[in-house]
């Protein structure tokens, strides 16, 4: 499978490892690009560079897979309210049609900043965050006919999807998810209200083990001593898992989502930010 590439003859396209190459400086941003460490101008510059640099494109692909593996280390399920809110939101959003289905260039997408006479491929991920690309400027007549057919198909698809979305909108206009999370917790069959105290003020937990949700409420919770924070822990037997930091304030109403299946207690301690295990005596402890 031979990919159509435009920069074969261009001497400005240096390879990695050649510090004297004119574009060597742009190349060196490839790692920073993938981990999101470029500022907007650098980011735009590198994206433009990607359109013409095969080796950077390949590294971006590989590094993006690598970064996705890194993200495994920090997996956390979202609060369950997010699910219903997202489902409700997509019912009002039509998926965009495919950007560039031209069969002559199966693996490439035009890049608006690429040289005019070429359509080098670009990472589709940039497109996911920006404007859908335009169709190629110039295509052979045969491709034009194919393109025309595709455009007509796309239009028909748009009409069909439009009608479909319209029906859905009417059906589900009332389906709002504003208080989905609250409703979910409060209507959970095993939802419990547990009262406690923290720093001499009343503090309540609403807990659903089934939904893995905890709501902590308090009024006039005094701020913790400088450099320390209130931290919530889920205790299961000998193990304590951090569930998050509790912010002090006049009206505290904070959600936590944590695996509660095996939990038997909730504890709040005072910790320097982001402790891994509790290092001080519990200020509040309730059995769940």
């Amino acid at each position: 499978v031979n990919e159509v590439r435009g920069h074969r003859g261009s001497s400005s396209t240096g390879e990695h490892g050649d510090p004297n190459s004119a574009s060597g400086d742009v190349h060196s941003n490839v790692g920073s690009y993938v981990v999101g460490a470029l500022d907007p101008p650098e980011h735009a510059e590198f994206q433009a560079h990607l359109g013409s640099c095969e080796s950077c494109r390949r590294e971006v692909t590989e590094f993006s897979e690598t970064a996705a593996e890194l993200a495994r280390l920090v997996e956390v399920p979202p609060p369950s309210g997010v699910r219903s809110a997202a489902l409700s939101a997509i019912r009002k959003v039509r998926p965009l049609p495919p950007a560039d289905p031209t069969p002559a260039q199966p693996a490439t997408t035009p890049d608006e900043v690429a040289p005019l006479d070429e359509h080098p491929s670009v990472m589709p991920w940039s497109l996911a965050l920006g404007v859908p690309p335009e169709t190629p400027v110039a295509s052979p007549p045969r491709a034009n006919r194919v393109l025309a057919a595709i455009v007509i198909l796309a239009l028909l698809l748009c009409l069909a999807l439009g009608a479909w979305v319209f029906v859905l909108l009417q059906e589900r206009a009332a389906d709002q998810a504003t208080y989905a999370q609250q409703t979910e917790l409060l209507t959970a069959p095993d939802s419990r209200l547990i009262k406690s105290t923290l720093s001499d003020v009343g503090l309540s937990y609403v807990v659903s083990k089934e939904r893995n949700l905890i709501l902590v409420t308090a009024e006039n919770l005094p701020p913790p001593p400088a450099g320390r924070s209130y931290q919530l822990w889920v205790v299961a037997g000998e193990a304590s898992t951090p569930a998050g930091m509790l912010r002090a304030g006049e009206t505290v109403q904070q959600w936590f989502s944590a695996p509660l299946e095996d939990a038997n207690a909730l504890v709040i301690t005072l910790e320097a930010d982001g402790a891994v295990r509790p290092t001080s005596e519990p200020l509040s402890k309730v059995a769940i």
Binding site: V35, E75, A99
Partner: protein, 215 residues
């Protein structure tokens, strides 16, 4: 409108590639089968199948939310951004091309980018103290480590991370998990910008090789 089937995605033909949500966690299923299953789900999202979106959400929500939460460090804001990411995935499903990488890489990229954009925007509610981050770079790494346990894949990634030099690891942790720009990372670690660039790239090469990521 065809509906999602209920049989496990590994052995069956293309018509029956959707499984119940819990099957996702089954360790028996090969990575390839999982990846192909996700591609099929995204393709169906592009055609407007909400049931496919629901399954996709359940299969990927922890990965997406985890990285968003890690970068933003604010649970309420992270929940909001996670929702935005999934709506964006739904909207852009047709732009996903399996020839350019896995679904998880695509989704993680979108999620990370959104979170970083939020952090960098002036309206961000997240107050961040650079000096604090520098002091705690090593500790936040431990937090990352300790928050996860047991699963083989996580163990593999953890080992890969351990194979890096401390400065590579710190640079990647600050940039990827901390959401800091490369010039901020340079200031935090008191090393030249050019060094940050090479450490980030070398670190990713090291991880890529340790994890056996193929293009």
């Amino acid at each position: 409108v065809p509906s999602i089937g209920t049989s496990p995605p590994s052995a069956e033909g293309p018509e029956e590639r959707f499984g119940p949500r819990d099957v996702w966690r089954s360790e028996q299923r090969s990575r390839e089968a999982q990846a192909a299953w996700l591609v099929e789900l995204v393709n169906r999202c592009a055609r407007g199948h909400e049931d496919a979106f629901e399954v996709l959400y359940d299969a990927t929500a922890a990965r997406v939310h985890g990285i968003v939460l890690r970068v933003l460090r604010a649970p309420d804001l992270a929940a909001e951004v996670t929702q935005e990411v999934f709506v964006e995935i739904w909207r852009q499903a047709a732009s996903y091309q399996s020839s350019k990488g896995s679904v998880l890489a695509w989704m993680t990229t979108v999620a990370h980018r959104r979170a970083v954009d939020r952090v960098r925007s002036t309206s961000s509610e997240v107050a961040r103290d650079d000096r604090y981050a520098a002091l705690n770079a090593e500790r936040s790494r431990d937090l990352v480590w300790d928050a996860v346990q047991g699963r083989l894949d996580v163990e593999r990634v953890r080992k890969a991370m351990d194979s890096l030099t401390p400065i590579q690891r710190e640079a990647i942790t600050l940039a990827y998990f901390g959401g800091y720009s490369q010039s901020q990372v340079a200031r935090l670690l008191s090393i030249p910008l050019g060094t940050v660039k090479t450490r980030l790239r070398d670190g990713l090469i090291g991880l890529r090789d340790a994890l056996g990521v193929a293009s």
